[in-house]
Amino acid sequence: MWIEQPILATHVKPGQFLNIKVSSEPDPLLRRPISVADVTGEKVRLVFRVVGRGTELLSRNRAGDIVDVLGPLGKPAMIFRNRDIIVCGGGVGAAPLLYLTRYLDKCSRVEVFLGARNRSQLILVADFRKLGIKPEIATDDGSMGWHGPVTEPVFRAVQKKKRPIVMACGPKPMLVDLVAKVDPVPVWGFVEQRMGCGVGICYCCGLRRKNGGYIRLCQEGPVVLLNEVEL
């Protein structure tokens, strides 16, 4: 899905999200937070998987429809310079990494790893290739690339690098596995959470810090240093 909005397209940075009212009706009431997958000219690209009523309603939009969007929200992801960055996406988690990679690729050495259950669940592979990056693929059923979890090839890549940084987005089990596997390498991850307002006023989208207390994901995230939080 593409949203044409010049001001939004100019201002949105990798890691940020939009909070979208999927229906003009009072139900569903809350907006749905969706990460930005890419920006081209005056258009912002969103790639999402239909998982519930909210995303289902959002997917019903057709070209020319007007959507109620709040954003850009959240803290932009850190763009590291002159470092070895390992980008790791699981399933639809590849989406926000595309826009991030576009930025990182200009100032760091980037390797991309994309994993999914099977070949048909892999997304945006061609878009990464267009950036001049050849993503390493892993599928749980072996239908494409490495047979097994994507965290395996990521782990091997990390070992070859000096002071690497991992940037990841994907299902929670993948993130947990990743942090444990590459420890103590820093893993910056996009975290998904039930969200209320998206603008920091309701305190509903907490994320527990390992040294106590909660952070507001919509304010200090959605990209956070996973080594410091409890997933």
């Binding site: 009072p26 009431l29 307002c197 305190y203």
Partner: protein
């Protein structure tokens, strides 16, 4: 028409407030805060609180269920870090305070005796804390004792936020009036819970508070029930999403309204409610708030 409204010692520019817990400290949206009657801050406790475990919010057709558990930095950090920032706002600022004993309420009021604090809203209705909150609000005796004690400690505007959970709000509102409150606010969220597929509690705090459009009919009922029998004003709260909702509350007898959950959907919701309310008044050539407030009863 003059839109100003006076409650206690505070003059509000118009009758719309942003409700506690749904607008943070008003600092994210000063353009909204400065154009509505005022803001009620997130609840402040004596000690910092980290709040409820996750998840904290659940959505259902008609509203939401939340259990944030009064996460807040505590009164000392509020004073040091947030209060100076609040001086940037031009609107009225009511601080919502949640004590777990009468002494704590007094400590909070004493610790917040600053010019920038226009008044206090006593939180006697939070459903997401083990002691205090709604437990106080379910006892008319406690409501009166706490209000009386706080009244002695401050001459700032005092609003008591009441609950509709298992207690006749008329009884607790009367108790607040007896205790010397300048106004009561009706209602806070109602008890609720949600389960996941395996039958476990969905919310980290297990139970939560219901808010949103589904609350409006009950809140409206509470406001009407209480307003006609009180000498102090009632502030209506519960499911206000539009200007027309606000007019309903005024008609039922509320002098002011608070916009809560709507701000989570649209941070400018309280301003939109005020603009729609103002437009409606101009269209209907309302001369005085008295013409609308409580008109339902007068027409019976």
């Amino acid at each position: 028409m003059k839109y100003r409204i006076k409650i206690g010692r505070t003059v509000f520019a118009n009758p719309v407030l942003a409700a506690s817990g749904t607008f943070g400290f008003g600092l994210k949206f000063p353009g909204v805060a400065n154009r509505i009657g005022g803001i009620v801050t997130k609840g402040i406790t004596v000690e910092p609180r980290e709040g409820s475990p996750l998840p904290r919010i659940y959505e259902f057709p008609g509203g939401i269920l939340n259990s944030v558990g009064l996460e807040n930095p505590g009164v000392r950090r509020f004073r040091k870090e947030i209060l100076p920032e609040l001086r940037r706002l031009k609107c009225r600022v009511i601080v919502n305070i949640a004590g777990f004993s009468i002494d704590e309420f007094i400590e909070l009021v004493d610790g917040l005796d600053y010019k920038r604090v226009d008044g206090f809203e006593l939180n006697l209705s939070c459903p997401n804390v083990k002691n205090g909150g709604v437990t106080f609000g379910q006892s008319p005796r406690m409501v009166e004792r706490i209000t009386k004690a706080v009244r002695k400690s401050t001459n700032k505007t005092l609003i008591v936020k009441l609950t509709g959970n298992f207690i006749d709000p008329l009884k607790t509102a009367k108790a607040a009036e007896q205790g010397g409150a300048d106004a009561v606010c009706l209602i806070n969220t109602l008890f609720g819970m949600a389960l996941d597929e395996s039958g476990r509690h969905f919310l980290g705090g297990r139970t939560g508070g219901i808010s949103g459009p589904c609350l409006k009919p009950f809140a409206l009922f509470c406001v009407e029930r209480v307003a006609s029998k009180m000498t102090i004003p009632v502030i209506g709260c519960g499911g206000i999403m539009s200007g027309m909702d606000a007019i309903d509350f005024l008609s039922a007898g509320a002098t002011m309204v608070q916009v809560g959950t709507a701000s989570l959907v649209n941070p400018k919701a309280s301003l939109a409610v005020w603009q729609a309310l103002g437009d409606w008044c101009r269209r209907h050539e309302v001369k005085d708030w008295e013409d609308i407030v409580g008109r339902t009863k007068r027409q019976d």
